[in-house]
Every structure is written in C-alpha cells, then in structure tokens.
Amino acid sequence: MSVQIIRPGLLATIQDLGRYGFQQYGVVVGGAMDSLSLRLANVLVGNEEGEAAIEVTMMGTSLQFNEDTLISITGGDLNPVIDGNPVPLWRPIFVQKNTVLSFTGCKVGCRAYVAVAGGFSIPNVMNSKSTYIRGEIGGFKGRALQEGDLIPLGEENSFSRKIKKVLQSKLEQRSFASVDWYVPFERYVNKSVVRVLKGTEFEKFSESAQKQFFEQEFQITPQSDRMGYRLSGASLGLKQPFELLSEAVANGTIQVPSDGNPIVLLADRQTTGGYPRIGQIAAADLPVIAQMKPGDCVRFQEISLYEAEQLYMEREKEIKQIRTALLLKKWSFE
C-alpha cells in the first residue's frame, strides 16, 4: 500500500507532533503547524494521535492512493476534490484504489492534513517522522514531497478496517464514500483573534508598544513560513535598549528584533533566541495562527496564565471525548 505524489503543489511535507527531547542539542521540534488538526485527522482514521500525516500548504497538491484506503482531511479547507466532486472535511473517507485527491484552492485557512489509516511506514529520526527541511532530516528522505514519490503505508488496525469495510459498501457509483457525521472543528480555522499571554520581557517594552500590541492589528507578511511569521503593523519599541542572553523560546513565542516588527515563532523555530519576547500565544490558539496566511490580519487578545491553562485542559478533554465517541461509533457498526 502506498500514496503516490502526482503533484507536490506549493509545499507538502510529512509531519507528526514533532521531535522532542533534542532541543538541548539545538534540534528544532518541528511537527505539524496545526497540531490539533493533525491529531483529529489521525483519530478519525483510527490511528494514534501522533501518527504522521501529510501537511498540505495552500494549494496545488495531488495525491493518488494505490490501494483502497481509509483517509481523513482536516485543517483548512483547501478545496479538496476527487473526480471533480468536493470531498468533505473532518470525517473518515473511503477512497477506492487509484483515486486521485487534489487540493484546488484556499477557501478557509492554509494548511490541510491528510491522514491515512495505518499511517506512513517511514523511518523515525530522533523519535519522529516530522520533516525538517533545513536540517534535511525526517519525513520522506528529509525533504518536501516531490512528484513521483511513493510513500509506503503502515498496517491498519481493526477500527480502521471496520470503518473501511462499512464505507466500501456505500460507494455506489463514486470513487469515495463518507459518513454523515464529523468533528466540528472548522470553527477554529477561520478566526483572526489570537489569545496571548504577556511575554517574558513584556514590561521592558515602551508603554505605547505594550498598548499597541494588544490594540492594533498586525498583518502577516510574505516573509513567513513554518519557522515563523514576520508581522507588520505598529513598530514596537523598548523603554531602553538592553542586552538579553539567548535562552529557550517556544512554539508561539512573539519576539521583537530591533526593527520593531514582531516575529511569531512557529513549528520549525530555532530552539533559543536572543530578542525580547513581548508575548506568548496560548497553546489552544496555535492552530488559529497556523491557519493564517500572508496578507491575513491578526489581533492579539490578552489572557492570563490561568486562563491559558484552562483552555489547554478543555481542549484536551474535548479531544478525549471525541476519541470516546469514535469508539462508540465503531461498536455501532457491528
């Protein structure tokens, strides 16, 4: 079983939840930009949440399934089609052998995740299948997917086989079939407000910078990628310049270099940084920023550490509930 890349599009890579335990050696964490969508894509096809999936960026990607396969598509709505028919998101989908799935445009968000039952059978590098392009490690041959790549699939479990069988019987004349239920997460994709905690050096910024940071809109510039987004908007200055020793940064750290334009550090961020940090995006809203694309505007809303932690807990409970609900769905097929 394998997936064949017909066209890679703008950028398609294999990602999982990232490479942990090696930041002390300077190894970037990487992984899916929108980890929530990746986790749910996996849950929907019966995989472990952290299995690797294909992260499709913006548009132009076409994949062919060389066997009957159970898949799911989550994240942004990049207008996926099969034989010209739109394919629904956020649910398990059965695709027949030799079906071609194409992403034809950015309707909502900018990153979609394609999970396949059984995951991808590719080697782990430092405990992860994530592609880190700059370091040329992980994923498929340490690089972005290219035309003609054949990515082997792993073994499906009983849950996947069960859903696959039921859906196969629903095919009728089409080359894919789906269910009439879905996980309601599209609402997280199309937002423009991101909740942020005050950063480690927040107090060192000028009063006007502190105010502008939470009151004004910032635009995501074209100099943005998986490593980070450069923003334009109000120039954020310090009360007075000071020397900062390099120390760890995290996913969603918002740092401000001397030109005053903030940079949001994301999945492929460096492990440490030396610029003052004005904010830290709450983990619950990392998927929101990850789905924004150059040209989009973002506003930062202040929340407390306590609130951010509550949001984190709620999100985890929600995912747990969905897992339970899906187990029940499996029994209901029997």
């Binding site: 629903k170 009439d180 879905y182 996980v183 609402r187 339970t324 769905k329 097929f333």
Partner: protein, 153 residues
C-alpha cells in the same frame, strides 16, 4: 465529564447494536449495560415517514410503503438521537434550511451534536419546510420532531 445527553446517546447506540453486555469506564466512573434478550423491534423508523436516517451512516434508507399513499400531507423530520440541535453546519454560517425552503431527499437539514460529533440529519422525501419545531442549541430527544415538512405531491 460525560453529560447526561452523551450517556443517553451511548445507550441508544448500544441498544441498536449487536452488543449485549457493555461496560464503560471513564474518569473513575463505571457503567454497565445489559440488554434483555428479547427481539428488538424497530417500529419508530417506519412510523415517522421521514428520515431518521441511520444515526451513523447516511444513505441507509429504509424502503417505506408510505411513499405511494401520502400525497401532499404534512410530515415531520425527527431527531435520530439524543443531542444538541443546530440549524447551522458551523458557527457563523448560514442556516442549512429556512422555513419556506424546498428540500430534496437526502439534503442535510440540521445537525444534532452528541459527544462532540456533529451528526447530519437528512430529509428523506422531497418537500417544503413549513415549521421549525426546535430552537438552536436546544437539547432534543431521540425521535423528537424537529421540522414540519409539506411533502411534494
């Protein structure tokens, strides 16, 4: 936490499955369900002439004799499960249907949320929506009427 509506949904699913004994443990809570070994009847579906499409899968239409008889008569679309009723597929979107809309067999008319999954409810006859019987966000029971529909003659 598992809500009462989730629990009822669970019972419904077990009830209609081939499972006879079911134990479930979640965050320190334990539930055991045991079915009576009697023949299950599935009356409900036939009685209401409109889709209670199988809660889990679409396209599972049961053939109804009702089809031939009723000419332009009022029907209801009922809820296939216990859950929360929504008129929109996603927050901020248009309602799936409005009163006065003509719907076709198989068209999704509303959503019932149970345990964080959104379940699509379909019309299984062609017709016109004449009344919305439930408010957005209300909890609905299994089999509860959701829409009144005038079947197209």
């Amino acid at each position: 936490m598992i809500k009462m509506s989730d629990f009822q949904e669970m019972v419904n699913i077990i009830d209609r499955s081939s499972v006879n004994i079911f134990t479930f443990e979640y965050e320190g809570m334990k539930i055991k369900l045991e079915k009576q070994p009697i023949l299950q009847d599935k009356v409900q579906k036939e009685e209401v002439g409109v889709s209670v499409s199988d809660p889990l899968l679409s396209n599972e239409q049961t053939d109804k004799a009702a089809k031939d008889e009723a000419v332009s008569k009022e029907e209801v679309i009922t809820s296939p499960m216990v859950g929360t009723f929504y008129t929109r597929a996603n927050e901020g979107e248009e309602r799936l249907v409005q009163v006065g809309d003509t719907v076709q067999k198989g068209q999704v008319v509303c959503i019932v949320e149970a345990m964080k999954l959104f379940n699509e409810v379909q019309a299984d006859v062609d017709g016109e929506i004449v009344e919305l019987l439930v408010g957005d966000g209300e909890v609905v029971e299994y089999g509860q009427p959701l829409f009144k529909l005038k079947k197209r003659s």
